[in-house]
Symmetry: C2
Subunit: 301 residues, 2 copies
């Protein structure tokens, strides 16, 4: 099954205790595609300026990413810069230059409209909604967001959430959106907003998959040298949606497996800067990492 | 197999968003015994003042807790008071009155000396060491500590750690003791200090069992209404050590199961103030909760 992703395509300057990169390819749609393309064809919608180094993501074409929907417009590409603290749990944004992204209007090419799995990356909820207006009958709509939209565009976010099947957000966002400190209570409150499946990303503490009747936890893969956590959430989403699209099975069992695939992909991503660690994976390495998640969580009764 | 526990027996005044208790029974040895006694006989060593309401812990005798080693001395019992913030992750100590605990010297009764599993609760490392000098050949020594001893009595702590099999500490303590922000690196550094098995308690994020070759994660049981987290760590330790003592099996598989039993016991404990939730459990309820941990972590390959 094909995936449609709409999100940012950016140039990131990142500094961590392990080093730094200047204007490396990044953005939610880039990380997502780099991850999801190991599993299923990806149709990408986004915008870049004429300065964007297209050759940097050329390799994704060979992995089945279609760039017909990537608008190239006069001006500069979205740029973001951030610096992480010593334990990589907190980061400070040095600057956010939206540039051409500030006028982004997602236009879904005709040939993308049959995409079964739609991933709405972290962009303005109004734009996320406009995507759904252009896609007639997606099998699953998966949405990511951030605190910026929760505090600044809450009504628009709530409007789009009514049409969302699976909602990905992190723990602090879940607390802010629901007003509950307890994540189980937070999830119950968010179920009322529409999505009946919620994935709460907890960074180094893993992820939780919640439905009104079930809870599933997966830890983060233990990595000694986390070089750069940037994009881990979108890489997780890419593995998660990618696995669902490949199997086209949204049963409870398969959703759990998809969360593990997402976690595995995220664990690769943080081992290097930008999308570097996502360039040369193999199905075998991905499979091995998924198996490792079983080893670190399994206990015999 | 019998368990020896040495730790504090205290009166806690606790306030959380769910209510408050005044001078309720608490302390590491109390929580530990309330939990471990569901699994194996417990020999308790501690100290209280003449004001201690012994009838409050009389029920533990029926569960096989021996109080021969509990010194009752003139003066007032150790008192602690704390208040938790709205999401129960942070707490402020209002006062710590050591009272009779400040002169505590653990004396191990003759009949306790054959105890196979020794749990050294969070007391001064010098006192923990003095216990080991009195117990000739324990099968396993399990030790808990806190940041107060890491910063204030580091050399004494390192001395006792050389004789410890299993070291329980929380994530911030592991970071402080090792100087590493990354918990895998922190564990590697702590292995060098002696213990070849480390359990890192992560509160609402669960626990990790680490050996030089393996890693195992278990999440915290999802609880909507956490009334009082006080004593959760000692209750975890009680379930963990209790299960090991009952089965007398320290294989890798059984250590994992013991961590799940510890997590299950801790999950009951936080559902009420003081040791209330640990008074009337049944083997069936404990077993069911352990099974629930399987349900929330299991995925099919």
């Amino acid at each position: 099954m094909e995936i449609l992703v709409v999100g940012s395509v950016a140039l990131d300057s990142v500094e961590t205790p392990y080093g730094k990169v200047e204007e490396a390819v990044g953005g939610s749609a880039t990380f997502f595609s780099s991850s999801a393309s190991y599993f299923a064809p990806v149709n990408l919608v986004g915008v870049v300026g004429e300065d964007y180094p297209m050759h940097e993501i050329d390799f994704l074409k060979q992995r089945g990413v279609d760039f017909t929907g990537l608008q190239v417009v006069p001006g500069k590409t979205f740029r973001w810069a951030g610096i992480y603290d010593y334990n990589l749990n907190d980061r400070k944004t040095l600057y956010t230059h939206l540039n051409v992204f500030s006028d982004f209007k997602p236009v879904i090419p005709e040939k993308y409209k049959h995409s079964s799995y739609v991933f709405l990356g972290n962009i303005a909820p109004e734009l996320q909604y406009s995507v759904l207006e252009q896609v007639p009958a997606p099998r699953m709509v998966i949405l990511d967001t951030m605190n910026f939209w929760i505090s600044g565009s809450l009504e628009s976010l709530k409007k789009v959430l009514k049409r969302v099947d699976i909602f990905l957000l992190n723990d602090s966002e879940a607390r802010e959106l629901s007003g509950h400190g307890n994540l189980i209570k937070a999830a119950k409150s968010i179920f009322q907003m529409g999505p009946k499946t919620i994935i709460i990303k907890k960074g180094e503490h893993g992820a939780a998959l919640l439905t009104p009747d079930t809870t599933f936890f997966v830890p983060a893969y233990p990595i000694e040298d986390v070089y750069d956590p940037t994009g881990a959430g979108d890489t997780f989403a890419g593995g998660f949606v990618g696995y669902l699209a490949r199997t086209d099975d949204v049963s409870a069992d398969n959703l759990r497996r998809a969360v593990v695939y997402g976690s595995a992909m995220a664990s690769f991503s943080v081992e290097d800067f930008s999308i570097r660690a996502l360039k040369n994976l193999t199905p075998e390495r991905i499979r091995e990492r998924v198996q490792s998640f079983r080893d670190i969580t399994f206990f015999r009764d």
